[in-house]
């Protein structure tokens, strides 16, 4: 344990001084990039892989569970992770940082927002949205069979940020109960079904996401977030999520040594909200395969990524 920690720190320090040292050639062994189960992440994996290949590196892709992947990065079975979301993965990521063997490679330009969200047509069913008070006033149209007369808010899996949701509902004395979906797929299925029926729903969602395109929808506006307002941080809990969450990159601690060139590039890689949205749209809306979408993105945005080399 201690040993790994030491090495991780050493590597992190080493990477800071990287610009100064003479870059040694990258290893020809493949850089392992994980693919999870949502579009932007998979497409981005192929985009980053394409960039690495353009400087002559070998790349391989491995499907992985998005929570379990950090353990594999620590062990060196996976080299990088390029979409570490603040509210969903910070726990797994921080656990891995504590255990050592993984390094934080900075954030993307894109900020993220994660909050209660409703599709556009729900705005007509409940006038006064996006304010949370208006939402609370029409709680009854959000009721379901299991919610006992209260409105139901469909949250992501319990381990993403479940306690915070419960705290907030209690602190704001809302007429809502939270139900925890088991996976993001369950959220989208509920959204799709509700849209067919013109039924009111409010679910956990984030941006950038594929829901940004199409008919869209909006985030519910809660009392503004201030540092320390959450119950877990000692506040009264009467606040929404931070409006600008981070989207990080992570790498195995030996990447700077083994693939110095690629590591330098990965350090520079920084996608904007628009980039992520475009990558997802090529697949979700234009129906391309993930690989083809990545190839197209690389072709269309050469100026962007050539600047990172």
């Amino acid at each position: 344990m201690k040993f790994l920690n030491k090495i991780a720190t050493a590597a992190a320090v080493g990477s800071l001084a990287l610009g100064a040292t003479i870059a040694q050639a990258d290893s020809k062994e493949p850089i392992v990039i994980p693919t999870h189960n949502w579009t932007s992440q998979i497409t981005m994996a192929y985009v980053i892989g394409g960039i690495f290949e353009s400087i002559g590196n070998n790349v391989s892709y491995v499907p992985a569970d998005s929570q379990a992947v950090y353990e594999s990065i620590r062990n060196g079975d996976v080299t990088i992770s390029h979409e570490v979301w603040q509210s969903t993965f910070s726990k797994s990521f921080n656990n891995a940082l504590d255990a050592g063997g993984i390094i934080d490679v900075g954030t993307h330009a894109s900020v993220t927002q994660e909050e209660w969200w409703y599709p556009a047509y729900v705005g007509e069913l409940c006038p006064g949205l996006p304010s949370w008070e208006a939402l609370n006033d029409c709680a009854d149209i959000f009721a379901t069979a299991g919610s006992g007369g209260k409105g139901r808010y469909l949250d992501g899996p319990m381990d993403w940020h479940g306690q915070e949701t419960l705290d907030r509902i209690e602190a704001l004395d809302m007429d809502f109960t939270a139900k925890f979906a088991g996976s993001s797929g369950a959220l989208w299925a509920e959204l799709e079904s509700a849209a067919k029926d013109n039924r009111a729903v409010v679910v956990f969602n984030w941006s950038p996401n594929f829901t940004d395109a199409g008919d869209g929808g909006s985030f519910v506006e809660f009392p503004e977030y201030t540092d320390g307002c959450k119950k877990a941080d000692g506040g009264d809990g009467k606040c929404g999520s931070p409006p600008a969450g981070w989207l990080k990159k992570a790498a195995h601690y030996q990447m700077p040594k083994k693939w110095p060139e690629a590591y330098k590039i990965f350090n520079n890689v920084s996608f904007t909200k628009g980039d992520i949205g475009n990558m997802a749209a090529l697949v979700d809306i234009d129906g391309m395969s993930h690989e083809a979408a990545a190839a197209k993105w690389l072709e269309d945005n050469e100026a962007t990524w050539k600047a990172w080399l």
């Binding site: 344990m1 693919t35 070998n58 499907p63 069979a145 319990m158 979906a181 079904s193 067919k196």
Partner: protein, 686 residues
């Protein structure tokens, strides 16, 4: 008193009455340990297990390993080096098969280096043209099982290619072609050792039980930490899951070999190895083949779950398309998984049943006609593919490889179907949905959650005692007491409530369907085929449509569970009823019973022990699917198992939670098995 001792149902009624009294007397507020066992040092068990495994992989027997590329010496442990070597061998085998089918460089790298590959672009294995593989499947089918089999194998391969699923299907196939032989080999060896050594069998039995009833998600993280992530990790977790039925059936088959056969072998002067491989295993072939069939089914059933830890192929594509709500695409991928399972199963069966023709003395070209034909087709298709790519360099070469985007698809049709179903039935099912949730499921959940630990343990112990005497009472109480000692008693009660509801409904549906279908031989064949199909069809596919109809609720989970758990109930009922000896049925008919009487008085009682084993399987299937139901959203043990993927002590927590689920299954399993054995003794069909 005499009456009471003789009639078990009377004992059971008293037991229930006492349970009820205990449950009302023990008050949640003041009940203390009687109500829920308070925190003890036992709660540290997940941490202990986690730290022990960590120690094993990180700190036990440290050795120095030199990394030639980075020119540094690193610390590693013997365990880690060993597991990584195993991984390497498995991964090499998978890549070898995969690259023969799809092309690639990793096999060449294994003998050279990545530098060599980067410099020499020609050093790669080219992909086989798909028509060559299809022809190969056709020839293998013909060679092993004649015309029907060749058509099945060839047509399935063509389906997969034409529907644009070639790459993922071959990835899955290469992974299965490694996992199946390993599982079969291990199963056969361990089964044979257990046959020879009673002590080994006694040690093995509980391990097998746990491996079979443990939810897969519970051991994903340990596999990732010990073996790494990738196709090999998927294959290794599949082997853990698929080997137990092979061991069991091997042992069962060997035990059934009549002593006469054994003696004949000994008299012919066999040594013990010859006796095993030339006499015992061939004689036990029937059961061993059922084992192989089970291994193949289990391996493909794992295809989706294995993709969580790096297995590429159909399972992963299926998860991605489900997450994008492309149900049609997921359905097609599911069909490919079923096809691969069916073809492999039939081929292996035909191969094992094929008799070697020792007398034939044929010339070379006749003896090797199948290999020669394949060679011819391979050259022919390769030339065609090559010429086509020369003549039309810019066009897609359909004769060589069909990409996902160029393949056929019935996806639109299925999507429209699902769409129609949801728009038109949504309103209709809401009444049912509301009624079920508010009037049945929520009260039932409440009732289960109000069960005090002491009363529940008393009920379990009493049931064990009535069914199987003191020994059973001790065993089942130990299982349930383990759960009571963990912090997750409430969670386990919710799992138990869902399992109870799902099992009751599944058994009612499955048994009625089984009874109806067993009346005609044709219906029997059809229903068994349906059972086979649904068993390998990835159950993940049902999850999204049920959410669309019933929302994220326990009802959705239960419907998905019932669809899956009805399979064994149906299958065992059909098998049980069709296996009732003809002589007994004729005897009944001669005594003048009508068809209904014959069913009620002769067939059902005789088939009952077998049907009970089906109910046993229903429980295991239901528990398995309830854990997968965590993807919809549950608040039981399954939710915690999913959460353990992101916990710091996830390895230990996952394993202990998995054991809790397994122990619920094993307690039920023990009771049903004991009872069915007794019935068999009574009926004289043991």
């Amino acid at each position: 008193m005499q009456y009471f001792i003789k009639h078990k149902w009377a004992q059971f009624a008293v037991l229930l009455a006492v349970f009820y009294v205990l449950a009302t007397v023990i008050d949640p507020a003041t009940g203390g340990n009687w109500w829920r066992i308070q925190e003890t040092r036992f709660w540290l068990l997940p941490d202990v297990v986690n730290n022990a495994l960590r120690f094993l992989i990180d700190d036990f027997w440290v050795v120095d390993v030199y990394d030639s590329e980075l020119d540094i010496t690193e610390e590693s442990t013997v365990v880690k080096e060993f597991t990584r070597t195993v991984s390497g061998v498995v991964l090499f085998s998978i890549n070898l098969i995969r690259e023969l089918l799809l092309g690639g460089v990793k096999t060449v790298v294994a003998f050279t280096s990545w530098e060599f590959i980067s410099e020499h672009k020609w050093a790669r294995i080219p992909a086989l043209p798909w028509p060559a593989v299809a022809a190969g499947a056709f020839i293998v089918g013909h060679c092993l099982g004649g015309r029907n089999l060749s058509v099945l194998a060839g047509a399935s391969t063509i389906y997969i290619a034409v529907f644009g699923q070639w790459t993922p299907a071959m990835q899955t196939l290469s992974f299965v072609l490694v996992a199946v032989p390993i599982s079969c080999f291990l199963g056969l060896m361990l089964g044979a050792i257990a046959y020879k050594s009673k002590a080994f069998e006694t040690i093995l039995a509980p391990l097998l039980n746990v491996a079979q009833s443990m939810p897969h998600f519970a051991y994903l993280i340990p596999v990732v930490i010990f073996f790494g992530i990738g196709d090999h990790a998927g294959a290794i977790s599949t082997v853990i899951f698929a080997t137990p039925p092979m061991i069991r059936l091997t042992l069962l088959g060997l035990k059934k070999v009549p002593p006469e056969v054994l003696e004949a072998g000994t008299m012919s002067g066999c040594n013990s190895r010859q006796l095993m491989f030339r006499v015992l295993i061939p004689s036990a072939r029937h059961d061993i083949l059922i084992g192989v069939n089970q291994v193949i089914m289990q391996c493909l059933a794992m295809a989706v779950i294995a993709s969580f830890i790096g297995a590429k192929g159909l399972g992963y594509e299926l998860l991605v398309s489900l997450n994008m709500l492309k149900i049609g695409q997921a359905l097609e991928l599911g069909v490919s998984i079923v096809l691969i399972a069916v073809v492999l199963d039939r081929l292996s069966l035909a191969w094992a049943n094929k008799q070697a023709d020792y007398l034939a003395d044929l010339p070379f070209h006749l003896r090797h006609k199948h290999s020669l034909a394949f060679l011819g087709i391979l050259i022919f298709t390769s030339v065609i593919a090559y010429v086509a790519s020369m003549v039309f360099p810019d066009k897609v070469n359909y004769l060589y490889f069909i990409d996902e985007a160029q393949g056929f698809s019935t996806e639109k049709f299925w999507d429209v179907m699902v769409d129609w179903l949801i728009t038109n039935t949504y309103q209709g099912v809401q009444g049912f949905n509301f009624f079920m949730i508010t009037s049945v499921l929520m009260p039932m959940k409440e009732a289960f959650l109000s069960m005090p630990v002491a009363a529940t343990l008393f009920l379990v112990a009493g049931t064990g005692y009535i069914v199987g005497g003191l020994r059973s009472a001790v065993i089942v109480t130990a299982f349930i007491a383990f759960i009571a000692l963990t912090p997750w008693w409430d969670r386990a009660l919710i799992t138990a409530y869902m399992a109870t509801f799902a099992v009751v409904v599944s058994v009612i549906i499955g048994c009625s369907m089984g009874i109806l279908c067993s009346r005609s031989p044709r219906a029997t064949r059809v229903i068994l085929l349906v059972c086979d199909t649904f068993q390998t069809f990835p159950s993940f596919v049902y999850l999204i449509p049920v959410i669309m109809l019933f929302g994220v609720s326990d009802l959705s989970v239960l419907i998905a569970v019932i669809v899956y758990a009805t399979i064994p109930a149906t299958r065992y009922t059909v098998e049980g009823l069709t296996n009732v000896p003809q002589a007994l049925q004729d005897a009944g008919s001669m005594s003048g019973v009508n068809r209904l009487q014959r069913l009620l008085k002769i067939e059902l009682p005789l088939a009952f022990p077998h049907i009970m084993l089906g109910i046993n399987q229903t429980v295991i299937f239901a528990l398995f699917m309830i854990i997968i139901g965590a993807f919809i959203g549950t608040d039981d043990l399954g939710q915690l198992i999913m959460q353990s993927l992101s916990e710091a002590n996830g390895m230990g927590q996952g394993i202990i939670l998995g054991l809790c689920v397994a122990f619920i299954g094993l307690a039920v399993d023990h009771l049903i098995h004991t009872w069915a054995e007794q019935r068999k003794q009574v009926l004289g069909i043991a």
